[in-house]
């Protein structure tokens, strides 16, 4: 045993300084970035026939991109007039497959990955910004209830296992969320945060409500991954599947009709990504802990 204590000490501290400084590993990316200055549709140089370039939108397997979002689509003059680009990419649907990035890479390089990470889990401009569902950003007064420690209960409601792996990764020495006072708890009765992953299948929904009933207030629900947020790749083209009912259930926690009341009353925070990067999950947990979200 002693040898392991020694080895552990010898190994040294490998944790990131993350909340103090953004010392991410190389290749870390959190969001997609849409650079309106580069996009052909927002420049005056339009294609010969005046039609916008929709390459990224066509490529997206989940329909997350809406290039025309901020335009009056009938008035194509707008494109040339440099109307403001807003909410082009809906990060709630994106599975980070990178197809849009590569589509655009030899056209205008307007879409790219970014490693921006916001204090209250917000993201960059031109990416649809309603990551916080139902949770208001607290103004002056911080909600300091969880300041000392935060207990998290994880529930898998139909995920692929990658999300679990990423959540479990928070315990490894690199992220080491214990040092920040965040712990995974086995029982919902001690939990402050319910961390939900997966597409919210019918069978798991009942169990989730049960867990929710047993979790004391005040509590937060964090939806980890695009699965519970919108269904991601699972929902995409549900309509095409020949009316298969079961498929339509894969549309995630937010879109599930059964959750109507919960959505109104609970504090829900979304962590996009497929799977969500551990840094992003950690960031959301830290925001809850430090009271950046009001109740």
């Amino acid at each position: 045993m002693a040898i392991w204590t020694y080895n552990g000490l010898k190994f040294g501290i490998k944790s990131v300084n993350f909340p103090k400084e953004n010392d991410f590993y190389e290749g870390f990316f959190s969001y997609l970035k849409f650079d309106a200055d580069k996009c052909l549709n927002y420049k005056e140089t339009l294609t010969a026939n005046g039609l916008p370039c929709l390459k990224c939108q066509e490529a997206c397997p989940t329909g997350a991109i809406d290039i025309l979002n901020s335009y009056d689509s009938k008035n194509s003059a707008n494109y040339a007039n440099g109307a403001e680009a807003k909410h082009i990419i809906d990060i709630k649907k994106c599975i980070y497959c990178g197809l849009c990035v590569s589509e655009c890479s030899n056209i205008a390089e307007a879409v790219s990955f970014s490693n921006f990470i916001g204090k209250d889990n917000t993201n960059e401009a031109n990416v649809k910004n309603d990551i916080k569902n139902n949770v208001k950003k607290s103004g002056k007064k911080k909600f300091g209830f969880f300041k000392k420690s935060l207990f998290v209960k994880h529930i898998d409601s139909g995920s692929c296992g990658a999300c679990e792996s990423e959540i479990a990764a928070l315990n490894n020495p690199y992220y080491n969320m214990h040092r920040l006072g965040i712990f995974i708890t086995p029982s919902p009765r001690f939990a402050d945060v319910i961390l939900l992953s997966g597409v919210f299948t019918d069978k798991m929904s009942e169990i989730f409500y049960n867990v929710l009933d047993n979790t004391p207030n005040p509590r937060f629900i964090i939806l980890a991954g695009v699965c519970p947020i919108s269904g991601g790749i699972w929902s995409g083209s549900g309509g095409l599947a020949g009316g298969s009912e079961s498929l339509l259930n894969n549309c995630g926690f937010l879109n599930n009709k059964k959750n109507g009341d919960i959505l109104k009353t609970e504090n829900i925070i979304l962590v996009p990504g497929c799977p969500p990067n551990p840094f992003m999950i950690l960031n959301a947990l830290l925001s809850v802990k430090s009271g950046d979200f009001a109740i």
Partner: protein, 453 residues
């Protein structure tokens, strides 16, 4: 349900369990120490993956679904799908060696990572937190370089039917912009080799450290003693129950697809199977260690062969195809093109396959029209099935595809090894110690998601 005796009691565990784990439902019958009966119910997270796949628009989107059935085996699953699709289109023999090597490279990287993660879990289950954390750290490192090189920590989105999607992202620019150190991703062409060299050397340094942990771990008596004779399986019964992967290998059953039905270039490698005979948790642990070494050897061989085989022409070709992702005619992995292309190119399978490189020595690829570039996708839809099988870290993954309608496969199925292994697990946990249950379960490394597809 269970036949109870005096003092026996039942209890259930799940679907929501302790810690971070997938949803499955265990029903135990026990008399405190000994576990008499175990009933496992899965199906809490069924997502109807096959239906979802049928609703997709193109083959690449189907691949994205296949990867997300079980995310930790994403590469193996997408590879099995691609092999099946290539079999369907009759492209198996036409794939250039460098694509095969790249696929093997990443397939082995995934196997390696999964094994290391499992070593971490096993150490954790015997309450050795230090080695558990150390293993987890290196698994994390492997995910990080995956993210750095291919923009997915779980190697998702690399495989495409007929090729690999490596040159897909403006990744280089991103890496350069965000990099503190001046690494080698500057030169366009050289960078492509450098990626593999970078992964191979980094993983090599991790393996060195991991070997040290393994050595110290095997000297830790409390660790080895807990694993020894725990969850012992009997080779004969295991064979009858069709044990797969590590579980089979631990009982001396050689069912490694890379040896029995070699795909890609595994035939050339002359692999030796990693076999142990005891069938207990220790054997499974040792099989994993053996496979880590084996996988790393294969990674090294693949890298060497890649540097030898991958001519500038190959890189140009792949690069070209990656660049022209928007040009539907040119891009071999852009499956949206397959429809037009299937109708225009059908019946003309004799046109040369540029991608194979050998008959493209003029180097003037722009001369060819898009249809020719995409040639190996010109398979005419037929009524037969394509079949692909891949050895993942936990055993074989089979995929069958058929009913191509010009865009997607209408008939498609995938089979993971876990269903069989759950049967084996259930059979052999009877009359074991309750205390050992966690170690035993961990050593199987189940993916519930793969069963509940």
């Amino acid at each position: 349900m269970f036949k109870k005796f005096l003092g026996d009691y039942e209890f259930i565990w799940g679907p929501v369990k302790k810690g971070v784990c997938e949803s499955s439902y265990y029903h135990f019958l026990t008399s405190s120490e000994e576990l008499h009966e175990l009933d496992i119910t899965l199906g809490y997270k069924t997502r109807n993956a096959m239906n979802a796949a049928k609703g997709k628009r193109n083959l690449y989107e189907q691949i994205l679904i296949m990867e997300r059935i079980a995310g930790t085996h994403a590469f193996a699953a997408s590879l099995s799908y691609c092999l099946a699709a290539e079999d369907y289109f009759g492209l198996t023999g036409k794939l250039p060696d460098c694509v095969k090597l790249i696929r093997m490279f990443f397939a082995e990287l995934e196997r390696l990572r999964n094994h290391i993660e499992n070593l971490s879990e096993i150490s954790g289950s015997t309450y050795l937190e230090v080695p558990s954390s150390l293993y987890a750290y290196y698994a994390e490192k492997i995910k990080q370089i995956s993210s750095e090189i291919v923009f997915s920590r779980y190697l998702m989105g690399i495989n495409t039917v007929g090729g690999v999607r490596l040159y897909n992202l403006s990744g280089r620019e991103f890496i350069m912009n965000n990099s503190n150190k001046n690494n080698a991703f500057t030169d366009d062409k050289a960078a492509d080799f450098k990626r593999f060299e970078y992964i191979a050397t980094e993983v090599g340094s991790y393996i060195k450290d991991i070997e040290k942990i393994i050595k110290q771990n095997s000297e830790t008596k409390s660790h080895i003693d807990r694993l020894k004779t725990t969850g012992k399986i009997n080779a004969e019964i295991a064979e009858k129950l069709h044990a797969e992967g590590v579980v089979a290998k631990s009982a001396g059953i050689n069912r490694d697809l890379r040896l029995k039905h070699p795909y890609l270039l595994y035939k050339v490698l002359a692999l030796k199977p990693v076999l142990y005979n005891d069938g207990d948790a220790l054997s499974r642990y040792l099989v994993r260690i053996g496979e880590i070494r084996q996988s790393f050897d294969i990674i090294k061989i693949c890298f060497e062969k890649l540097t030898k085989n991958m001519s500038k022409q190959h890189i140009d070709d792949i690069h070209e195809q990656g660049k022209n992702i928007g040009d539907t005619g040119k891009l071999q992995h852009d499956m949206r093109s397959i429809y037009n292309y299937g109708s225009s190119g059908s019946g003309n399978n004799s046109r040369s396959d540029n991608f194979s490189g050998s008959n493209n020595d003029d180097g003037n690829s722009d001369e060819h029209t898009g249809v020719e570039r995409n040639l190996f996708l010109s398979g005419v839809p037929h009524n037969k099935y394509g079949f692909g099988s891949v050895e993942s870290s936990e055993g074989p993954i089979f995929c069958i595809t058929g009913g191509f309608d010009g865009k997607i496969f209408k008939k498609i199925n995938i089979k993971y090894p876990f269903e069989n292994n759950f049967r084996v697990f259930k059979h052999f946990t009877k009359n074991t110690m309750m205390m050992d249950f966690n170690i035993n379960e961990t050593s199987y490394n189940f993916s519930v998601a793969a069963c509940d597809k």
